[in-house]
Amino acid sequence: MEDKQYMDYIHANAQKSNHVVTLVWAFAVGGVICCIGQAFIDLFTVILPNWDKAKVASLVSMTMIFLGSFFTAIGVYDKLGSKAGGGSIVPITGFANSVVSPAMEFNKEGIVLGMMAKMFVVAGPIIVAGTVSSVVSGVIYWIIGLFN
């Protein structure tokens, strides 16, 4: 009985420390990726002075997506992801990873029904959620505009 209690104690503590470790990893990796994004914002603002803020933001997203895709393709991003968890999923590079990773994996099942279809396994829900919110918020703003 005592042994069992001891094992439970060890187990509970191990889980707790694992939990904390994953949080530290997620924080550190997510923070670093955001700093890389900030560096691109600063860089593009300087080298493209006549671009407005929204266009720079879009270009930064595309650059980060390129980097996320590239590091997924060479196999680095998924290795990082096994440590970083949320730190590699939530940044826009994680969105790129969620497109490229299944695209590469299902490529062997054919270009059309394998790669092209399966690349939306994770991206699909995001596109749907994004499009629906886009229409709903657009209609809300349009109706508000009618009364102003």
Binding site: T22, L23, A26, F27, A28, G30, G31, I33, C34, C35, G37, Q38, I41, D42, A54, A57, S58, V60, S61, M62, I65, F66, S69, F70, A73, I74, G75, D78, G86, G87, I89, V90, P91, I92, G94, F95, A96, S98, V99, V100, A103, M104, E105, N107, M115, M119, A123, P125, I126, I127, G130, T131, S133, S134, S137, G138, Y141, W142, I144, G145
Partner: protein, 122 residues
């Protein structure tokens, strides 16, 4: 010094957002698709209630590089379009997604053609 402080803020808020995601992953075993949709909708919500721009002014890339930034640009587009007319109101949000989606789909296609999968299942 001010630029350096900007990076500290981006690191702190970006890290915090990812850490919150990790808490959800640890506690609920949510998959990455659910996490991404949840944070996208969080960005949409924060932009709709007008809080996002304050966080963005403070944290810069710390909130725009996570998928919350994607949600926010969608609503920004919808808001801009709504000033012109109903057609623009329902389409300009997607227009703001266009850059990111184009990049993701194009690079996804391109890299899947030239690189082999590294997954152990293959």
């Amino acid at each position: 010094m001010e630029i350096f402080l900007g990076y500290v803020k981006a690191f702190a808020i970006g890290g915090l957002v990812c850490m919150i995601a990790q808490i959800f992953i640890n506690k609920t075993k949510m998959t990455s698709a659910r996490i991404l949709v949840m944070f996208l909708l969080l960005g949409v919500f924060l932009e709709l209630i007008g809080v996002f721009k304050y966080i963005e002014n403070f944290a810069g890339a710390g909130i725009t590089v996570p998928i919350t930034g994607f949600g926010s640009t969608i609503v920004k587009g919808a808001k801009e379009g709504a000033k012109i007319g109903l057609f623009e109101a329902v389409t300009y949000g997607f227009r703001n997604m266009a850059g990111g989606l184009t990049a993701a789909i194009f690079f996804g296609f391109f890299f899947a053609l030239i690189f082999r999968s590294h997954s152990k299942k293959a």
